[in-house]
């Protein structure tokens, strides 16, 4: 008896809310992306279906829903059907521990952070299964690339989450939000926040890290063989669901969760999620794609050492000044960022163009242009 009432009062609302959030993100964000992308490209984006094009996602969903369900003949049918379901577990399960408001969390785990990290790894599985089960070389290559990339970028993500745990003193997400009553952790540890964003973008397989679904090379990578509604599953529900839960986790860990200026409510959480998703869309429209070896070397050679050092420094400050360690941490982080902004853009360009500049100086050319138009040597 109690289990049925448990089911009705605890499980079903939570399940419905989780599914609703994912569905809402699958409706809102692709449309937002297409409109914003259009504005950045000096065009309008879809604005015909409904007022300002707001019904466009429903039209797209309906179109994909009524398409023929094609499974490749040689594909492993069970795994082929299972892959989207496996990949959907990450967005669904991760919402269980996010505090939506001061008194509502679906499951108040006291090891919430470990749970977040563990559940985040399921999306790798889903993509790998999809790539293998499609019986297609392109999909296989896409799936393998995705697995390598996502595993590499889990590590800076985890290290940064540990920093948040250190700053809070607890692994429970409710306590994390409670600890941000005076100042957000993003202001204390901006370096950590930026690492979280970069590693998250790589985890989500978005540009500039979107090699697994590189459209111009692999014809859609691991979801080449998925058509119709299964494609909508991958491209809308799972992809944007992952973005939403990553943004939710990020807002909770770094931006104060449901906290807002006058009152705390889920509205502020939604606003922060929306802004983080807009940043992802902005990255998509601006950057080209990174090459697989550059991607991996960036993760292993730059991000992981950086986040390890960050973690070590934070731990050191907590040991040295157990009562007010927030200030030294903030000073260190902000100075890192300041150094970065001052020196990095020029430095990377200089390193990459060093040989070129040396050659230019040797040949005493000021630009890459030479030669004149006066000609006509015709005899």
């Amino acid at each position: 008896m109690s289990s049925i009432s448990d089911f009705l009062t605890n499980f079903l609302p939570g399940f419905a809310i989780a599914l609703g959030v994912i569905a809402a993100s699958a409706v809102v964000f692709p449309f937002a992306m297409r409109r914003l992308w259009g504005f950045i490209c000096d065009r309008l984006g879809p604005n015909r279906v409904g007022p300002q094009g707001l019904l466009q996602p429903f039209a797209d969903g309906l179109k994909l829903f009524i398409k023929e369900d094609i499974t490749p003949a040689q594909a492993n049918r069970l795994l082929f059907l299972l892959a989207p379901a496996v990949a959907l577990t990450t967005p669904m399960l991760m919402q269980m521990v996010i505090p939506f408001s001061e008194d509502y969390t679906m499951v108040d785990l006291n090891i919430g952070l470990i749970y977040v990290v563990a559940v985040g790894a399921f999306s790798v599985l889903g993509i790998l299964i999809a790539g293998w089960a499609s019986n297609n070389k392109y999909s296989l290559v896409g799936g393998l690339r995705a697995a390598a990339q996502m595993i590499s970028y889990e590590i800076p993500l985890i290290l940064t989450i540990i920093i948040v745990a250190l700053l809070t003193g607890s692994l429970s997400l409710n306590k994390v939000v409670a600890a941000q009553d005076s100042v957000w952790f993003a202001l204390v540890q901006p370096l950590g926040f930026i690492i979280y964003v970069i590693a998250g973008v790589a985890e989500l397989n978005r540009t500039p890290f979107d090699l697994p679904e590189a459209e111009s090379e692999l014809v859609s990578g691991y979801n080449t063989e998925y058509g119709g509604f299964r494609y909508a599953f991958f491209a809308a529900l799972i992809e944007w669901g992952n973005v939403t839960v990553w943004a939710m986790a990020g807002s909770t860990l770094f931006l104060g969760g449901w906290r807002g200026p006058f009152f705390g409510s889920p509205f502020w959480l939604a606003l922060k999620v929306f802004i983080m998703a807009l940043v992802i869309i902005w990255f998509f429209t601006t950057f080209p794609r990174l090459q697989i070896d550059q991607l991996m070397s960036f993760a292993w050679k730059i991000l992981i050492p950086l986040s390890l050092l960050n973690l070590a420094a934070t731990g050191l400050f907590i040991v040295l000044w157990p009562d007010n360690f927030l200030l030294p941490t903030a000073i260190l982080s902000w100075s890192c960022i300041a150094l970065f902004i001052l020196f990095f853009p020029g430095a990377v360009k200089k390193v990459l163009m060093r040989k070129r500049l040396k050659l230019l100086a040797e040949k005493k050319l000021t630009a890459l242009i030479t030669g004149t138009g006066r000609g006509g040597i015709r005899s």
Partner: protein, 182 residues
């Protein structure tokens, strides 16, 4: 590499080529500021090598290889240019129409590889010593040569609407036999 372009005129180039090639050149004329040198098929590699390696002429750039079918004979033309002077040099080889064979210059200019394949594809000119002579622009198993003057359409369409003469294409080397996804 800003080249010093020599102000060579076409007659100068012609004289220099004449003394360079000596007996190899059957005929040298100037045809609207190009120097046209005619060589025999067997002498072609030697003449080409000399033209390419000469310090003054240095025809390092092969523009294209053209096959022409005059009805009594066939011809291959090699359009050469140099970075050092602005007089283009044309090499002309007259071939027997029944059995058009000429040594390949693919090892002299690497770009000649594909141009010779195209000449073979369209005319059936056999380039001896070519590493990989096969059709390039038409079907891999086409057995006629389209640009010859006596080429006829490949397919015959009968009155009943039945189309004949189409076979299964040949697989490329490296392509497996079974039907594969990608």
């Amino acid at each position: 590499m800003t080249a010093e372009v020599l102000k060579l005129t076409a007659p100068e180039v012609l004289e220099h080529a004449r003394e360079l090639l000596g007996k190899l050149a059957l005929d040298l004329i100037i045809s609207d500021w190009h120097v046209v040198i005619e060589v025999g098929p067997e002498d072609l590699p030697e003449a080409a090598l000399r033209l390419r390696d000469d310090k003054k002429l240095s025809c390092k750039y092969l523009s294209t290889i053209i096959g022409v079918d005059y009805e009594e004979w066939m011809e291959t033309l090699y359009m050469l240019r140099s970075q050092d002077h602005s007089v283009p040099v044309r090499l002309r080889v007259k071939l027997n129409r029944e059995q058009p064979e000429v040594p390949s210059v693919a090892y002299i200019w690497s770009g000649a590889n594909w141009h010779e394949r195209e000449a073979y594809d369209f005319f059936g000119i056999q380039f001896q010593g070519h590493p990989d002579l096969r059709h390039i622009l038409t079907r891999e198993d086409l057995d006629s040569f389209p640009l010859r003057k006596d080429a006829r359409p490949h397919r015959k369409r009968r009155r009943s609407g039945q189309v004949t003469g189409i076979e299964e294409p040949v697989r490329l080397p490296g392509e497996p036999d079974k039907r594969e996804r990608s």
